[in-house]
């Protein structure tokens, strides 16, 4: 074995494919990264989307610029299941290095389109093979030799179109969209799609069972990745200061945001109503957020696990000195550098308690691109309302993959700035004490620097302070202050996004999941009911701290499966800290942590096993 092992294939549960399979299967394209396959895969995904068939696309890629294996899986599901499907039904094998293993992992009855010289045919008797001589086909379509490597990929789109029955016109539309500003490239790529289609039509007799047939499930829907969705949310939240340090898989959030801000937030005078700063590291990125939030801006940064680790000290300052700020954590596999291009829900505990001393932070847990958008806005509201750093915990699967959604809705709530005293109010009150709990909710009043009143100023510090913000090491001042902070956190329970009872059967079995585990969970629910007769109730968490609904849900069930994508059952541990002792024993773990997005079958099998069925 080489020093580098980037193979992907898991042990799949073989289920023989028989009969005609319409709109309910998965396609995997195995290529080499940097080969330009992303455009071809997007065209394929959009073609199916435009056929009205529910679809999802997941890019499983290496941490590398070019030359290592990469896989793109597309799942078409007439039932609307958009979680990853472990079993691959239809393979497009373009990568010599992984082709054999890719073929061997297919389920019986699968189909495989492959680059003819790879000579894969003899590997399996129970798979239908379609060899395509890409090098011969690409020449006539693409006279420019140096572009052939890229254009080659579009040929498989045409082949797959023909074999699956995807209308060529839909791919044509998708190509035109993909290369909207480059007419020449669009023509070239479309010619390649057609060449593939014509070759397949002239050469192949269809022997596999997979078909895409037109449905009408996608009318009016959009396709977007979670990072772009979050970026939109940030822009409509009115973000003004954005700081960041590039890190996979969070980079595209800020890059999308830059694009949106340039398009929609340059004033009529040509001036920017925002500042985006690429900082020297994550320490500086969060430091700038703290400074900007303190001085009244809606400020945010976006990062992933290693950045979160670096931000610890500042986030503790934000908690203790009570400074608003929004931190997106697009989680990837840790610890340490981990698997930088794979997904995990691995930062739950580290974000909940980030920094030394007693600290607790508000976490928002989006499960969809729609919630990436809405929770971005909620995060800014909560950060200013509670004067504290707020985390939005997305993950690589949600952030970087393509998801369908209804178009996002325009925010109805006005932008809230929290308890900020202006010069007039200070004049009326005759002054203020920065850390005094005036309203009994634990949330004090603050002033912004620059407020034109002699009593506006106070001194912000990470060291011990009394209600007036003065330096204090007095035991009673310290206790009063941190107890108020705990009270403030309790107040937040009622204001953070409430959990959603996704499925209720009045079962004695409860399931708790959050974030992207949701999609596998809803599908697993159906599998459990249909295949095993097991009914489960399902509560989806959307935030920490937990509210009373979470306590009630646990109380009202005999056993609770907590489904999540990490090794240690981090959310279960967090629940244990919140629940009374007699409830804790009910909590069980369903875990998935190999870096690939969680799939329904893994959840179903684990619950069935623990149920003793």
């Amino acid at each position: 074995m080489a020093t580098l092992d980037v193979t992907l294939q898991e042990q799949a549960t073989p289920t023989a494919q028989t009969g005609r399979n319409v709109n309910d299967f998965s396609i995997q394209v195995a290529t080499v990264n940097g080969s330009g396959s992303q455009s071809a895969n997007t065209v394929l995904l959009r073609s199916i989307f435009q056929m009205g068939v529910p679809v999802s696309g997941k890019n499983l890629f290496p941490s590398n610029i070019a030359g290592l294996p990469t896989w793109y899986t597309i799942r078409a599901s007439k039932h609307g299941y958009i979680a990853r499907k472990k079993e691959i039904d239809f393979l497009v094998a373009m990568n010599a290095e992984t082709a054999q293993e890719d073929v061997m992992s297919l389920v019986p009855g699968a189909a495989c389109v492959y680059d003819e010289p790879l000579n894969l045919k003899q590997l399996r008797q129970d798979v239908t093979f379609y060899p395509v001589p890409y090098d011969k086909l690409v020449g006539p379509v693409c006279p420019e030799a140096k572009l052939r490597r890229l254009v080659k990929n579009m040929i498989y789109v045409g082949v797959v179109d023909y074999l699956l029955g995807i209308e060529l016109a839909e791919s044509e539309k998708a190509v035109a969209r993909q290369f909207a500003t480059k007419k020449k490239a669009a023509d070239l790529n479309m010619a390649a799609v057609r060449a593939g289609y014509d070759y397949a039509k002239a050469t192949f007799t269809k022997h596999d069972s997979f078909f895409i047939e037109r449905m009408n499930e996608n009318a009016g829907k959009i396709i977007i990745d979670g990072n772009a969705a979050a970026a939109l949310g940030c822009m409509f939240a009115g973000v003004t200061v954005v700081t960041w340090y590039p890190i996979t898989p969070s980079t595209s959030l800020v890059e999308s945001l830059i694009d949106y801000l340039k398009e929609y937030r340059i004033g009529s005078d040509g001036k920017a109503t925002f500042a985006v700063v690429q900082a020297e590291d994550e320490l500086a990125a969060i430091g700038m957020v703290m400074g900007a939030g303190w001085a009244g801006a809606r400020a945010m940064t976006s990062t992933s696990g290693p950045g979160i680790s670096l931000m610890g000290e500042f986030v503790g300052l934000g908690y203790y000195a009570e400074i608003p700020g929004v931190i997106f954590d697009i989680q990837r596999v840790g610890p340490s550098t981990g698997l930088p291009t794979r997904t995990m829900q691995g930062d739950i505990l580290s974000c909940a308690f980030l920094s030394h001393g007693d600290t607790k932070h508000i976490l928002l847990l989006p499960n969809s691109v729609t919630e990436c958008y809405t929770m971005a806005m909620e995060a800014f509201e909560l950060a200013e309302q509670f004067q504290t750093p707020v985390f939005v915990l997305s993950d690589l699967d949600l952030g970087m993959n393509s998801w369908m959604a209804q178009p996002f809705e325009y925010p109805e709530q006005p932008v809230g700035r929290g308890k900020v005293l202006g010069a007039d109010e200070l004049q009326r009150l005759g002054g203020f004490a920065r850390y005094k709990d005036v309203d009994g909710d634990g949330i004090p009043y603050r002033t912004l620097p620059g407020t034109a009143h002699p009593a506006a100023a106070y001194f912000t510090r990470g060291s011990g302070h009394n209600e007036k913000g003065q330096y204090s090491e007095r035991p009673d001042d310290y206790v009063r202050n941190v107890d108020r902070l705990a009270r403030k956190f309790d107040t937040a329970r009622k204001f953070v996004p409430a959990p959603v009872k996704e499925i209720s059967h009045s079962s004695e079995i409860g399931v708790i999941a959050y974030g992207t585990s949701h999609w596998a969970m809803t599908e697993a629910h159906d599998q459990l009911e249909k295949e095993y007769g097991i009914k489960v109730d399902y509560l989806r968490l959307r935030a920490y701290p937990f509210n009373q609904d979470v306590h009630d849900f646990v109380k009202n069930h005999n056993r609770i499966y907590v489904v999540e994508q990490n090794r240690d059952g981090q959310m279960r541990e967090l629940l244990k800290l919140d629940l009374p002792p007699e409830q804790i024993a009910k909590l069980r773990r369903v875990l998935h942590y190999n870096g690939l997005p969680i799939d329904a079958r893994s959840v179903t099998n684990e619950i069935v096993s623990q149920e003793g069925k």
């Binding site: 959009i222 396709i223 822009m235 409509f236 009115g238 973000v239 200061v241 949106y260 929609y264 937030r265 004033g267 005078d269 001036k271 920017a272 109503t273 925002f274 500042a275 985006v276 700063v277 900082a279 020297e280 590291d281 320490l283 500086a284 990125a285 969060i286 430091g287 700038m288 957020v289 703290m290 400074g291 900007a292 939030g293 303190w294 001085a295 009244g296 801006a297 809606r298 400020a299 500042f314 300052l317 178009p407 996002f408 325009y410 006005p414 932008v415 002033t447 620097p449 620059g450 034109a452 009143h453 002699p454 506006a456 100023a457 106070y458 001194f459 912000t460 510090r461 990470g462 060291s463």
Partner: protein, 345 residues
């Protein structure tokens, strides 16, 4: 006939010097930092800085405590160790109309904070960054910092065996546009530098040698009052005429260079023995390196450039502070969302 009591002396915006006072210092008696706080008060008063428009930023250490000892009517922020530059940057981005004054120390800047210091200098963010430089860590009882000179001796007899970081040379190389060195014991020079700093819209970096009376003021120290007094070599004699004073004086252009600051004030640089051109960046770095080898402490304006674009220019910021923009400006209209959605269909 009784005399009317004299009205308290006020500055150009009608405030008295008492309006700029701070809390009682908790630093050691004789600490150079206290003198610097006094000069900051004087400069802010003389320049008519509105106290509420000033923000005082600091990191951690003795130096970083000092913002509590001047201008109580200004917001202050005592951040984390070595990372005041990023917080100050955030503050400036949220409200570019504030006057951001950062006070740091040699440990806070040149050791734990060197990364953020370097990147702050690169951006030419409008800020006044003061290093209260004594070559030792005070709060942890007297370890060397990264600005301590090679061969300098601690009270305990420990000899510093690593070369110092010259924060001024670094700042000049990286892009700061007003770089100076001074001595907490030189009232006049420091006050003039601070007034000029207030007039500058770019990164001002002033390294003020500020002896630590408790841990680094002995024989063998190169940051003691005596050593600095003996080795202080001003590169020019400074004069400053604020923009609100109409004083016309003729200077000999052969001996005095005049720099027009961003607010219209004038900084006069009168030649001393050496012919020092504070606008020549490369030469400034060369002379600093040479003087270091000779054991001289060069003070005065080491580099000034009023032409370079600052960070706000680079970011093309709108006129109103970002943190004060109304919802109608920061939340694009419904049509914008609809357009964005249409592109994704």
């Amino acid at each position: 006939m009784s005399a009317t009591p004299a009205a308290p002396k006020t500055n150009v915006i009608g405030l008295s010097v008492l309006d700029y006072r701070g809390g009682k210092t908790t630093l050691c008696a004789g600490c150079g930092h206290n003198a610097i706080s006094e000069r900051i008060i004087d400069a802010a008063y003389e320049m008519g800085v509105r106290p509420e428009n000033l923000v005082k930023m600091s990191g951690i250490g003795c130096s970083s405590k000092s913002p509590a000892y001047f201008v109580n009517r200004a917001h202050g922020f005592n951040a984390v160790h070595g990372r005041m530059p990023s917080v100050a940057t955030g503050v400036a981005l949220a409200n570019h109309k504030l006057m951001v004054l950062g006070v740091s120390g040699d440990g806070d800047t040149a050791s734990i904070g060197i990364g953020q210091f370097i990147h702050l200098m690169r951006r030419n963010l409008p800020i006044i960054y003061i290093i209260e430089d004594n070559g030792v860590y005070g709060l942890t009882k007297g370890q060397f910092s990264a600005t301590a000179d090679l061969g300098a001796k601690l009270k305990t007899g420990v000899i510093n065996d690593l070369p110092p970081i010259d924060t001024c040379a670094l700042a000049i190389e990286l892009g700061a546009t007003f770089v100076a060195r001074s001595f907490s014991g030189d009232k006049r020079q420091l006050l003039t530098l601070l007034k000029a700093a207030i007039s500058h819209r770019g990164t001002v970096m002033i390294d003020v040698i500020s002896p630590c009376v408790t841990f680094n003021d002995h024989e063998g120290s190169t940051k003691s009052y005596k050593y600095v007094k003996d080795h202080d070599e001003p590169v020019q004699e400074l004069g400053f005429v604020p923009h609100f004073e109409n004083i016309e004086v003729d200077y000999d252009p052969g001996t005095t260079a005049t720099v027009t600051m961003h607010d219209g004030s004038h900084l006069r640089l009168r030649k001393l023995e050496r012919d020092y051109d504070a606008t020549d960046r490369i030469n400034a770095m060369k002379i600093l390196a040479e003087s270091h080898a000779k054991g001289e402490v060069l003070t005065g304006v080491l580099y000034v450039n009023t032409q370079a674009p600052n960070f706000f220019d680079v970011l093309n910021l709108t006129g109103q502070p970002l943190g004060q923009l109304p919802e109608s400006v920061v939340r694009p209209p419904k049509k914008a969302l609809e357009d964005a959605m249409a592109e994704l269909m």
